[in-house]
Symmetry: C2
Subunit: 341 residues, 2 copies
């Protein structure tokens, strides 16, 4: 099968197509013929040599996909051969075939194409894990999304608005991106390129502050973030692009009962992802089917043009998801898979 390979660490010049043997589905796994796969920030970080895959993961990039089950290990009741699924994986989605633990498979929401389905898992699993589980966003609380037009940002805005009735403040670096944040449901959109952005957030936040912050920047954003938190507020980090250290005011942690936490989903076991997936299927998938939650595709490019796809993320000008297409014939079609039992 054809796969995308990183030949060393660096810019898009390290990208290449290669031939690899078909993966064998292990116990509890299905082999999926990949129709489309998301390109996510960690794929780019891995290409740059900044984010090595976890010890047991493949060196082939790619963290989510959609496709059709080609083969299933014995004893699996769903999905069956021929079923359309989307899935989150620990790697190896940028390939024509991928072996996936069944817990990590989800039905494709009715009405969505394979390309749209491939854009869902990584960002919705990440948003749910960090905003709902770690951030424990409650009904009517205020969420600050740092980087509102990232895939995770757009998912977080919609989950917070549609499922928690939260007040959402998003940041974005261009007027166009801020417009998209508002269109997606944010109550306010702030320019993080303005050095006074914390004061601008403070102006639109409730007097007590912000209850939950979702942030991939860390570094020098951490101090203003901790200051912006309301009593019992939670800062949830999903990466540390701006720096890996910060001075934290521990007295404020005690007195205002603040929480600083963070996570990576990738090394989590299939059972954990399965629990996340069940909540997504029950709570988010119906809203994707009814159109109350949407996925935004920035570009869908055949795997031969992976370099163009990476260049879009390198420039950081994409709004919404960039998707790689392995099977152009099926990419835009709406699958007709059976739902999970």
């Amino acid at each position: 099968m054809k796969v995308i390979e990183y030949r060393g660490a660096g810019g898009i010049e390290v990208l290449g197509l290669a031939e690899r043997p078909l993966p064998l589905p292990g116990p509890g796994e299905v082999l999926v013929r990949v129709v489309a796969a998301g390109l996510n920030r960690p794929d780019v970080q891995q290409r740059r040599g900044l984010y090595p895959p976890p010890p047991s993961a493949s060196d082939i990039p790619g963290l989510d996909l959609s496709g059709i089950v080609e083969r299933a290990a014995p004893g699996i009741s769903w999905p069956c051969v021929g079923d359309a699924v989307c899935a989150i994986v620990t790697g190896a989605a940028h390939a024509e075939y991928c072996a996936v633990p069944v817990e990590q498979c989800l039905t494709i929401p009715r009405g969505l194409s394979f390309v749209e389905a491939a854009s869902l898992p990584e960002v919705f699993f990440t948003a749910w894990n960090n905003v709902i589980w770690l951030g424990r966003l409650n009904e009517g609380e205020t969420l600050l999304v740092q980087g509102g037009t990232s895939g995770v940002g757009l998912a977080a805005i919609q989950i917070a608005k549609r499922l928690r009735g939260a007040r959402v403040i998003a940041t974005a670096g261009t007027p166009e991106k801020r417009r998209i944040c508002l269109e997606t449901g944010a109550d306010a959109a702030i320019d993080y390129r303005n050095p006074n952005w914390p004061a601008l957030v403070r102006e639109v936040a409730p007097e007590a502050g912000v209850d939950v912050i979702l942030d991939a920047q860390a570094g020098d954003y951490t101090r203003p973030h901790m200051e912006l938190l309301a009593p019992d507020g939670r800062l949830v980090l999903i990466a540390s692009h701006r720096g890996t250290e910060a001075v934290v005011d521990l007295r404020a942690v005690v007195r205002r009962r603040l929480t600083l936490t963070g996570s990576t989903l990738r090394p989590r076991p299939p059972a954990y992802k399965g629990r996340l997936g069940r909540e997504l299927r029950e709570q988010v998938w119906p809203l994707l089917e009814s159109g109350q939650i949407n996925t935004r595709i920035c570009a869908a490019l055949p795997m031969e043009r992976a370099a163009e796809a990476h260049a879009l993320l390198d420039a950081n000008e994409q709004i919404g998801k960039v998707v790689l297409v392995m099977d152009p014939a099926l990419a835009d079609s709406e699958p007709s898979g059976r739902a999970a039992g």
Copy 2:
């Protein structure tokens, strides 16, 4: 009524007895004739001017007490006039009478004296709030208690061992205190005066590290604490005696999914304390009655000798609780109150 007053901020010379009018129980409150009251670290910090009482709290110190209900606001089904109770309060327990929200009252465990009952609320509420609720200590996990012979430390060791089957590592500054930690149930006791204490903890902790750390020191302990945490580990701060700032490794927070949090219980509303109290009554009080969990009284001194009591905490040589006695005739007797309905 007689109360203990702080005349300015400083050493034990600022302590004095004063006359104050009897407090009036407001709606949902009972007036308790205080038999005994705990002396806690925050009382000493308040005396030193380092811990101002929350805006709505009394200037009279004292955070927990035992006594007999003297009067009750209308519509209160429990406790009734004549019932013996112990309670956590936001202040004003170092007095002959104290008005207490009913949610914050608890029955006195059978077999315990008023002095022993007065030693329970602040430390068990604090240990439960931070180890069980914020720290989410699970069955079989490892807990590090920084300062194992403090009142909160001894409560935390016992809760973790007896109710969670946890592995407990405690620190203490003298051989005698370390002996008490082990006697109380800790699996290991480490000398925090040894500059290599983090390595000593590492030696006795499971390979992955410690799951929960309960700490009142903060400051320069924070970095080794974060390093000692296992994946998904939680550092819970209840004060910041060694310093109010620390550099935190944010990449470790993301990659190892660490949590840094903390709390003060005092400003929490009665409903929150009521929820904590119900869990204590259901899960801890039976073990106090059966003798599987104990309270350790270091000294019980009449309120006229409050200066001696404070001096014990100033010297930091006490092991277990220091209690002030307002009614010496009842102090050591076992009350015969009715249990909550």
